[in-house]
């Protein structure tokens, strides 16, 4: 009997569930605005106030529309453009090394912890401040480890299904377990094999006395290999809420104790990741993490090259120039252009996909393009996930009922959204399944010429479309900020 393919459905949810498809803060602001406007109207009885209020209300609604991810409104774009112009002086860099970190990084503390068993191999910890509450105590810690990755080659369906199931269980287990982890990011870096590294390796292999013709051929082979092949490195970033971590510590939660406990938590996550079939390569220390961040800014510098890196903060070592369409980094050898995109809420495919769906962005971008593909999983415990799905479904049913009462012809959006909620509720009935707020981001890089970046954008967009994504939202006017979401810092998921 042929093995059935295990499938996944991600699409359906195209808009925010809630009153007017808006967030609580948006509704509060809207209600406040209407209240003030009404009072002003009653007080002044002025046509001007009426018109100004109407105009302001429309502008606000247009902005809100962008915020609800129902599509990029012209107003939203205009706002981004204005904000970009207001915050960037023409001809001045966006970030200069030696200053503090770029503003969007916010307030962070770089820590390192070496366990007694490995005093010479410290683990890098980044403590991110909670900017909403302006508190370090409610912030979060992140740690990064590199994994081997698995599943390439031509696998039988059974094996593809199994690896998919194990990954689901990894996420479900983390969401359900009593461990203080609320987000796991899996990032894969794809870049051409470094020509110099390969050439050096090949040169070392060729023995002296090799006939000239053959030696020339070997050199040509190494050049061809460097130009035509890609290498993959995968990293996991674990996000640990400090408050939750501290709550799990008995006794005094000083810095040392917190670091110790974090190490234990990371160990548990590594064990689970290993159980899902992804072998640990290394837990990143401050220098290695700094080198990774530097490499993401300047791909000419090797991902493992720690020269000149003392702390994680040294990763931001290059002058950066923000442009609406890209970010330019003055690298060690040449300039690099970067752009970032994410998958917006309305772009996810509604059709079932298989466990290797990410192949479209990870392996099927031709010709070779330097890119980082990041999947972020903000984990939601089962009880809260049930509530979210139930509330979502309630809103969808209400919308559908309203449409029916009005006699409106359905666009199918509400039904699709309802099926997404129903699917989540059904999934949550099974063991080791939790809720998740997933985000997918792609950062692409091209050297020297921004036109190369434009071509790379087209290639990646095309690959995404092949995978069934209706579009990628390129973060124009915000690439300098969006770059942060592609770094191993578990940032950028809005709850």
């Amino acid at each position: 009997m042929a093995t059935q393919e295990r499938t996944y459905v991600l699409g359906g949810e195209t808009r925010r569930r809630g009153l007017f498809a808006a967030s609580g803060r948006q509704i509060t602001v809207g209600v406040g605005f209407v209240g003030v406007w009404m009072l002003a109207l009653l007080e002044t009885r002025s046509v001007v106030v009426l018109l100004v209020g109407l105009a302001a209300g429309m502008a606000g609604a247009a902005l809100m529309r962008r915020r609800t991810a129902m599509g990029e409104s012209w107003m939203g774009k205009a706002w981004d453009g204005a904000a970009f112009r207001a915050t960037h002086r023409h001809g001045a860099p966006d970030f200069v090394p030696g200053e503090a970190l770029p503003p969007e990084v916010g307030e962070v503390r770089m820590l390192a912890y070496a366990p007694p068993s490995a005093p010479s191999a410290p683990m890098a910890l980044v403590h991110h401040r909670d900017h909403k509450r302006r508190s370090w105590a409610t912030g979060h810690l992140t740690a990064v480890f590199e994994i081997q990755g698995s599943g390439d080659g031509i696998l039988p369906m059974r094996q593809v299904n199994t690896s998919g199931l194990l990954f689901e269980r990894l996420l479900g287990g983390l969401a359900s377990a009593e461990i203080p982890v609320d987000q796991l990011d899996v990032a894969t870096r794809i870049l051409p094999v470094h020509p110099n590294a390969y050439r050096a390796q090949m040169d070392a292999l060729v023995v002296p006395g090799t006939p000239a013709k053959l030696a020339r051929s070997m050199r040509e082979l190494s050049a061809a290999a460097a130009g035509n092949t890609e290498e993959y490195r995968s990293y996991c970033t674990v996000r640990i809420p400090v408050a939750q971590l501290v709550a799990s510590i008995s006794g005094t939660a000083d810095l040392e104790r917190v670091a110790e406990e974090t190490f234990e938590v990371i160990g548990e996550v590594v064990r689970r990741v290993d159980g899902a079939g992804y072998r640990l390569r290394t837990v990143l220390g401050p220098r290695r993490l700094g080198a990774l961040i530097r490499h993401l800014h300047d791909p000419d510098v090797g991902i493992d090259n720690q020269e000149g890196i003392a702390t994680v903060a040294d990763g931001w070592g290059y002058t950066r120039w923000a442009d609406p369409h890209h970010v330019r980094i003055e690298g060690a050898a040449r300039d690099w252009y970067h752009a970032v995109a994410h998958v917006p809420r309305d772009a996810w495919p509604a059709q079932p996909v298989n466990a290797r769906w990410m192949e479209h962005l990870v392996t099927r971008v031709n010709p070779a393009t330097i890119r980082t593909v990041v999947s972020q999983f903000r984990l939601v415990p089962k009880a809260r996930a049930r509530d979210l799905a139930r509330i979502g479904m309630t809103y969808d049913v209400a919308t559908a009922t309203t449409e029916r009462k009005r006699g409106q012809v359905s666009t199918g959006e509400t039904e699709a959204s309802m099926s997404a909620s129903r699917r989540v509720l059904q999934d949550l009935l099974r063991p080791v399944v939790g809720g998740v707020l997933p985000a997918v981001r792609v950062m692409i890089s091209a050297p020297e010429d921004p036109n190369l970046l434009t071509a790379a954008r087209r290639r990646v967009t095309s690959a995404a479309e092949d995978g069934g994504l209706t579009r990628l939202a390129w973060q124009d006017n915000r690439h300098h900020k969006a770059m942060l979401t592609a770094l191993p810092m578990a940032r950028g998921v809005r709850e």
Partner: protein
């Protein structure tokens, strides 16, 4: 806890250490020069006097303030789903490539990863347990190109020693002649008569017996001799076997006394004219039960068949002393057997003999070697029940190959070329590096899939692989589709279609 590093960097206020820096508070002069900004860990120098370099302030306070106010993070709203559905978003679906095992062989069609298949380095990386290689594929699918490059000239550049049995005649010379040219070595041509190279089956570098000091099986002169005798005569009876063994010992003794190396002709002579010591036991000789004539009778039929065989099929190939001009230290040894008749048993025997000879010679020198058996199905031709087959000799060599850094590369068209249960099938089964090129016939594809446990989804792929593309299986790793990569020189070297093109006569030089 041994170490807890203190917070090292902050981007703002809070319970942070003394190094904490609030954005914009300590403005530095903006240094445009790349070198200055790239000195890791060194802070740019502060202004030396009031008002100095005011024009170079890298960002005015107003902009920075606005930026702080307007700098909401690039947070994005996402969908909400279950971990069951989010399982499709795993990006770690390609394993980080282990260090390259030698020169790149090709590119993984699906991932773009470089693929290298040097058997010795793969063995060193513990990705395989047997260094032997099998290459399968239809005619003109690209398997010869792979072998000539990846298992012939590239290993030579890496200091490996390679021996190839070149079978195909290509416009008057073997198809590996170009590879020999590239490596600047002569071709060793085998031809019947006296104008070809000879390798003596009784060369003293090959051990006389097939048991080593540890009592383990190896390929010695006795086993090779038995193989030749069985192919000349058929399965030997116990008396014939005894007569041959006695003749072998006598031949070595006689030649030794004469101060020369024994050859097959000495064995023949000793079969026809055995020594008195050839009688199995003294009491048998004393009682007259077994005489020298009796022993002669035991080996007479065998001797006549062997004589016919040596003077016929094997004439001048293995019955003379090994050519002294044979340079066994050459990086590439191309044994051109294209002049031997296709149906001649000599072809397979030469393969077994030369392989045994080389392994015997190499056993005394450290190094890493590869033996390429082109048209490997020849090894199965000479096999009848109960006889010593060529394939069994090669299998024994392959099994012991690891001890002398030897890897066998067997090239076949289809699995069906080899009878099931034959020793040659063991060569295929025990290979840990398998390249499968196009198998256009469904039954061939099915056999290959069953033999190497390939996923069913590959059935159609095997039938439609483009030239140069193949399925590669390394050890227990998942199979992958690979496109073979060649350089300009290698393309010329592996071009076997010259004769089909106009102006073919003008081609040839690499």
């Amino acid at each position: 806890m041994t170490t807890t590093a203190v917070p090292q960097q902050s981007n703002g206020a809070g319970p942070v250490p003394e190094q904490a820096a609030r954005p914009g508070r300590h403005r530095r002069p903006w240094q445009r020069g790349r070198d200055a900004t790239r000195q890791q860990g060194t802070e740019p120098s502060p202004p030396t006097g009031p008002g100095q370099d005011q024009q170079q302030e890298w960002e005015p306070t107003a902009h920075r303030k606005r930026r702080r106010w307007l700098s909401y993070e690039a947070d994005t709203e996402t969908i909400f789903t279950s971990t069951r559905q989010a399982g499709a978003l795993n990006t770690a679906i390609v394993s980080t490539h282990p260090p390259l095992a030698g020169p790149i062989m090709g590119i993984d069609v699906h991932t773009g990863q470089p693929v290298s298949t040097d058997p010795h380095l793969l063995y060193d990386q513990k990705r395989i347990t047997s260094p032997n290689v099998v290459v399968l594929g239809d005619i003109s699918s690209g398997k010869s190109s792979l072998v000539k490059t990846q298992y012939c000239v590239r290993p030579v550049a890496m200091g490996r020693q390679v021996a190839v049995f070149d079978r195909k005649d290509q416009q008057g010379r073997g198809e590996y002649a170009r590879a020999a040219e590239v490596c600047e070595v002569p071709v060793i041509r085998f031809a019947r008569g006296s104008n070809g190279t000879a390798i003596n089956l009784l060369d003293p570098r090959i051990s006389a017996t097939s048991l080593d000091d540890a009592g383990e099986d190896r390929v010695g002169q006795d086993r090779l001799l038995l193989m030749v005798a069985e192919h000349a005569h058929g399965r030997l009876s116990s008396t014939e076997h005894y007569a041959l063994r006695a003749a072998h010992q006598a031949a070595l003794l006689r030649a030794g006394e004469a101060g020369r190396v024994a050859t097959l002709h000495d064995v023949l002579d000793c079969l026809l004219d055995p020594l008195a010591s050839a009688i199995p036991r003294e009491h048998l000789a004393g009682s007259g039960m077994v005489t020298v004539e009796t022993v002669t009778g035991w080996g007479l039929q065998l001797a006549l068949d062997l004589d016919r065989f040596i003077r016929g099929d094997l004439s001048g190939l293995i019955d003379r002393e090994t050519d002294e001009t044979l340079n066994l230290d050459a990086p590439l040894l191309v044994f051109d057997t294209s002049a031997l008749p296709e149906e001649s048993p000599a072809l397979a025997l030469i393969m077994a003999l030369v392989a045994s000879f080389l392994t015997a010679v190499w056993a005394h020198k450290p190094g890493q070697r590869i033996i390429v058996l082109e048209e490997g199905y020849h090894t199965t031709r000479l096999q009848s029940s109960g006889t010593t087959s060529v394939a069994s000799i090669l299998r024994s060599l392959a099994k012991r190959g690891r001890g002398i850094g030897l890897s066998f590369v067997t090239v076949l068209h289809h699995i069906s070329d080899i009878p099931p249960g034959s020793d040659a099938m063991s060569l295929v089964r025990e290979a840990d590096i398998v390249h499968i090129y196009q198998q256009s016939r469904a039954d061939d594809a099915e056999q290959a899939m069953a033999q190497f446990r390939l996923p069913p989804s590959l059935f159609d792929t095997l039938g439609s692989l483009a030239q140069g593309c193949h399925i590669l299986k390394i050890g227990t790793e998942a199979p992958r589709q690979v496109r073979h990569l060649r350089t300009t020189m290698e393309k010329k070297m592996t071009d076997t279609d010259g004769a089909m093109r106009t102006g073919a006569g003008r081609e040839g030089a690499v």
